[in-house]
Amino acid sequence: MREILCVASQLQVVNAMKKYFTDGGFKFCHLALPVSDEALLVGSDTVVVLMSPIVCNGKYLSAELPWKQYLREHLPNNLLIIAGFSDFQGDNYLDLLHLPKNIKAFLNRAEIAGGSWEPAYTGGLDVAEQLRRFFEGHGDESVTDELNNTLRILKIARDEMKRHQAEYQSVWKDLLLANRLPSKWNTLNNRWINYYPNFECLPFFGTFVQVNLALQHIAPYFNSNCEEEALFWELDCIEHLEHAKSALVKIEQHYVK
């Protein structure tokens, strides 16, 4: 029996779709938010149905473009169907006010995720645009920009101590405070808090979870006003930021246009 993987958070919609698809002879699985990596280990005949806009972090978000990008890369032969209340027509759009009488015929007409079709924008907060701002260097809203700044300063500090045997107290005063590192951390953290919950609806949210854990791990160092040398070394601040950076670079390269 062909499986439907329904990504939605509005329970009324989930229940309505469950009835529709099971009546049509499909196995129905609901993928709730936040999206986990394991949930997407599916067979090639599973149909991914994404509700859009989807309620995530208390807002209506349109995540169809990142989902298309992700599936094109990882599950190119699967079908991606966008479901919603917009008055659209399209081979991959399921209008919930006009559900097709023959769902099998509808799915036969739909294009695979690896195809060149572009999903229509469904009107919610555009997650593709959020991702672009998140990654955009030198922007007022860029997270990666602040992360790179913080990492650069910490690396200089480490080199000063390791190569030039500088005392931590002087590095703290002349480099970390002079470059307003605690304030940079707050900016980075504020921007992160602003974006992170919006990404719960993304198929690669698991990577953001890893980055979040890395940031939480090193937070005590910054919360000490960067004054505690022991925390600098014990928490492996540079390694954790490097890890966060490389995880984010992968997302940017693969899924952000």
């Binding site: 529709y20 008055d87 006010l97 555009d126 007022d140 504020n190 937070a219």
Partner: protein
């Protein structure tokens, strides 16, 4: 962003935060002086209305202006009408002029609701908030108190949110409404009165109240209004449409006003009426018409 200035006039408890004159002005770090926030602490009165209007008139030529009126200062839908109707047609449509009601700490103006917002505690621009992983707890929207300068990212955040606040609220009402009625969506014929009975169920109470507010059927000072205020407080978001409908009539164009009226009629006919068949695609169509003529983005 256009090259016009952006001005926010906020009527609030500023006297507690040190406002000594009838109003004062705060510029924004990194922007030309024309971008500003005007603090005012005038309770609703004829003189207060005249002062607000004159202040707006002074800025409309070169600036987009957002007016924020504190409900607890006595401002309501009628006050918005009085302020906006005193402006000439040309002034009303010359720029992006919008007038919002706010209060009870539930709007995106408050730092307690949005850490990048502007209004703190006791008439100030700052508040103590616990944010995870954050160094220190004080969030301060002021860049330089001596020169009356605000931080750019706080000013930008509030401006962005309110640039699309009306449209986002309409869009969310549409989505919430169609989601609630999804079980009826594929009935060939929805029996008369069925949607009304459904919307009156306790689980749909909030949606019912929002629809009453949207269609202008919620009387000032009524129990229903008090109930929606309580919902706002619980939900921590703005749920009233009283400021929206007044803005639509006065600062948006004639077309927007007409389409809004048609949508209100469609809701009354298909949802609030117990006679005749209900037609969800027709309601959706009216919502989408209204959204399509509101020129701002739904979200930024």
């Amino acid at each position: 962003m256009t090259n016009r200035n952006r001005v926010m006039l906020i009527v609030w408890w500023w006297k507690y935060g040190g406002l000594e004159e009838a109003w004062d002005e705060w510029t924004v770090a990194g922007y030309p002086e024309g971008h500003k926030l005007i603090r005012m602490d005038e309770p609703r009165s004829a003189a207060g209305t005249a002062l607000i209007r004159s202040c707006v008139e002074d800025h409309l030529e070169n600036s987009d202006v957002f007016i924020f009126l504190h409900r607890n200062h006595g401002y309501n839908q009628q006050a918005i009408e009085e302020i906006l109707s005193g402006l000439s047609d040309h002034q009303r449509h010359i720029s992006q002029l919008k007038c919002f009601l706010f209060g009870e700490g539930n709007d995106d103006l408050y730092i307690a609701k949005q850490p990048r917002a502007l209004l703190g505690t006791k008439g100030t621009f700052r508040a103590n908030m616990h944010l995870p992983n954050h160094h220190g707890n004080l969030i301060d929207a002021v860049a330089n108190p001596a020169t009356h300068q605000l931080k750019r990212e706080h000013f930008d955040f509030v401006w962005k949110v309110y640039s699309h606040a009306f449209k986002a609220k309409v869009f969310e009402l549409k989505e919430d409404l169609l989601t609630a009625f999804v079980d009826f969506s594929n009935m060939d014929l929805i029996p008369s009165g069925e949607l009304y009975r459904y919307i009156r169920l306790p689980e749909n109470r909030l949606l019912f109240l929002r629809l009453l507010s949207f269609t202008g059927r919620m009387r000032k000072g009524s129990d229903l209004e008090r109930e929606l205020i309580q919902w706002e407080s619980r939900e921590k978001r703005s749920l009233f449409f009283d400021d929206f409908s007044t803005n639509l009539k006065t600062t948006y164009g004639e077309l927007e006003g007409r389409i809004y009226k048609n949508l209100v009629e469609a809701i009354k006919t298909h949802i609030f009426s117990v006679q005749g068949e209900a037609d969800l695609p027709s309601i959706r169509g009216q919502f989408e018409s209204l959204l399509s003529v509101m020129s701002e983005a739904t979200y930024i």
